[in-house]
Symmetry: C2
Subunit: 546 residues, 2 copies
Amino acid sequence: MLFDPFKSHFLFLILSLSLCVSQTLALNSVPEPDASLTYLWPLPSEFTSGNRTLSVDPDLSLAVAGIGGNSAIVRAAFDRYRAIIFKHTSGISIFSRFTGRSSVYDISKLKIIVNSDNEELQLGVDESYTLFVSKNDGKSITGEATIEANTVYGALRGLETFSQLCSFDYGTKSVQVYKAPWYIRDKPRFAFRGLLLDTSRHYFPIDVIKQIIESMSYAKLNVFHWHIIDEEAFPLEVPAYPKLWKGSYTKWERYTVEDAYEIVNFAKVRGINVMAEIDVPGHAESWGTGYPNLWPSTSCREPLDVTKNFTFDVISGILTDMRKIFPFELFHLGGDEVNTDCWSTTPHVKQWLQDRNMTAKDAYKYFVLKAQEIAISKNWTPVNWEETFNTFAENLNPRTVVHNWLGAGVCPKAVAKGFKCIFSNQGFWYLDHLDVPWNEVYTAEPLEGINDSSKQELVLGGEVCMWGETADTSDVQQTIWPRAAAAAERMWSRRDAISTGNITLTALPRLHYFRCLLNRRGVQAAPVTNKYARGPPTGAGSCYEQ
Amino acid sequence: MLFDPFKSHFLFLILSLSLCVSQTLALNSVPEPDASLTYLWPLPSEFTSGNRTLSVDPDLSLAVAGIGGNSAIVRAAFDRYRAIIFKHTSGISIFSRFTGRSSVYDISKLKIIVNSDNEELQLGVDESYTLFVSKNDGKSITGEATIEANTVYGALRGLETFSQLCSFDYGTKSVQVYKAPWYIRDKPRFAFRGLLLDTSRHYFPIDVIKQIIESMSYAKLNVFHWHIIDEEAFPLEVPAYPKLWKGSYTKWERYTVEDAYEIVNFAKVRGINVMAEIDVPGHAESWGTGYPNLWPSTSCREPLDVTKNFTFDVISGILTDMRKIFPFELFHLGGDEVNTDCWSTTPHVKQWLQDRNMTAKDAYKYFVLKAQEIAISKNWTPVNWEETFNTFAENLNPRTVVHNWLGAGVCPKAVAKGFKCIFSNQGFWYLDHLDVPWNEVYTAEPLEGINDSSKQELVLGGEVCMWGETADTSDVQQTIWPRAAAAAERMWSRRDAISTGNITLTALPRLHYFRCLLNRRGVQAAPVTNKYARGPPTGAGSCYEQ
């Protein structure tokens, strides 16, 4: 049975503490932060806080419990977060005034309880956790800081929240937790909280992909949608068809299967699934660099040649190889922006269509459904961009997840027909749209227009999309952040808690704070309120105001 | 005695090998790189290469020799570079076709010989090294890969060069050295190769400063000029005057003395000195937030009040505290852009000037010279921005290093008068000037207009300056890189080797390559040929072309 601090008699004591904290945050030219706000991002679903300040031991130790507590994932995460929390090491002070500090700390141990040893990471994995932080007075039945979760992935989310409670105090030169004691009971609103990265328009080195995945974990995003391949480049190794990655820009802009495997594991231990995509039949010109037979003709190269068994053999081969790398149950088959002119004008394809009494549109459907069958045969749930649903909803496999992007109103239609849906309305959640300000990202709502709760459950969540035409290693992180964080809170936090009031007062100061937190962790998050995303600051000033 | 491969009889064998390599670099849409170029940045001063490809053991081991070889700095650097060289780990392959690879490698050991155990890092420290990479045939008197240097800092430069020789080959999935055997004998042209970072206009978290310092080492830059304080903010803790950092933007945008100390040590083990600056008497308004007496008046806050002993007591206190942190012999006292209006209009200052029959300009000189005296009394060599030289050269302490910034022709004048000089002509080497393209950075020459070799020796080197008005964590690295690398080669490599021929053919492809190397190492270097520095790529494409 889970220990439940919310039901315990401690709760009444906690609730009786004032929520209005008098803690002074002495600042120079920058306005005082609103102490009534909770500087956690995304906002936990339930929490109470107090008015005490607790110190955290720089030698904070880990204690684990529960059948899943003794997990390598938990231990590695604790080490990562300890490095984050204790960035400022006192070391051996060269200034005598800083020696002889108190060695008595309020919190010297973090207890992590994990109630299951099942470490499978799939859609809907239990990410809930409770976090309790108080001074140990010797009477409490919990530890000084305790995270309890049903899975290691819930524990990871709790660790992130704990790290955000910890602040380095420059006055005492120690890490402190303000507004303690804290009782937090938290869980995500949506199971699928994604970020798409396009590694075809620009190649991203594996270290950069890891940086992005690491930063996703700070905002509790949990799906890395890897748009690996597109018409411009085919960077991934496919052992079954070893010439495919001849479609890479250069022989140095490639991913080996081992690279991909490493990325999947790097993501997994951060509680992030990798959803791979091969976008067919459009957006696939680069496939033909290695296998020109995949093109309708050398002068008309897209969509993939629908007439040949070879085309589907290659898709099957790719999916067989990918299945060994990507354990996530969802696989993205693209299906967007298919211009069938090549099919209508290339003689052998035209003939093939005539022989079967098919239009080009019929062939598009034929192709998508055949690709779906291949994916399903490999035990994958297919995801398709919304055009497939918009064009032939009645033929789509009922397991299909419809991925919205073109605009509003698609998820309502999809769930009305019983399909699952992912929300990525390009007007708000396409990060390459640089003119969309943080507040429009923040208020975009995946459940907009869906009122029936049984239908709401079909919305898996949403995804922000970082298309790569003008994003490369030099600018990708500041194009992603901080706006991806605005979507991350929308997808994690309770809708009622973040949808009322004036967000300029309730969310903006918190987002500023989170952006500066990202910066402190070495993530190149851009100013929050610049006119165009990833724009430079307009002048000198504090991170907390820009 | 140093082993000297250039004088050995091996040299003749090496030179007889063709320099024109037939190695094919199969590419897709991108032109073949020019195989006659040497893709090392900055270009070593002397080298020969061959036409063999050698494989490098993923378990590459370190062997040290010489009285300085058993150094923690060398061992830590070897570990860092091994992580860089072997980013692609094969791990346990999930694809059977990738098992059973050859376990015989041409290079399985890197030998590092350091001939001195003096690890003091000062201006002019010996950074020379030789690097020899060949297949061990059992007959060679050197190892398979050998770095020999007089100091650990030379060994660090050699390690960087070795890492640039190592490429991951996606075909064989192993690290290879092309064009072996390599004989490299290298040393810098200038002793001072700096980068300025301004942490007053924007605060940079310590992790970000470390990222910048780490990236500097890749281009063999060796001085981190820390422009800590300016009129906007005073982020550094000064124990002697603990209210000074009240001038920080917020209480979270600060550096403790321990932070500063850690940065100095982080830089030192990468062979990089930290030159601290306090810019007086202008650019110092933020000092008065904690101590308003430093302002001439609350309504006229800059320059610092020249009339009070307290002003110089504070400067002395800061320098005493800083001396414990910054061991580098150079200390920057600023002295630029001093607008003395406050002195002329504030009654008590005006009176003070009249009493002494001094003009405001006299007071500027008085202030700068007094600050110089304080710095010199603490065993520092003062550096001043060029205005001090331009205004009262005859009064400057002869040890003064003149720091050029306003334009051309200053270093020639300074060295003619016997002063040392640092070149930072803002028209070329101010990185915040976003309209200066890579080639103008590259061709700017610190010795321009100085023909007498005894005078040339007074030019310590140069520095690129990253002023912070529109640079923060989100955009600083892509504003610095790749243009800082252009200056880095100018300062490291032989002038004759990089000043002849068409640099679009000889340098640009190499700079593209180095930019992509930075990207692979996780550094956000911007496209080389974009119209404005740090601009995004204009469209999809290869890193090697943008």
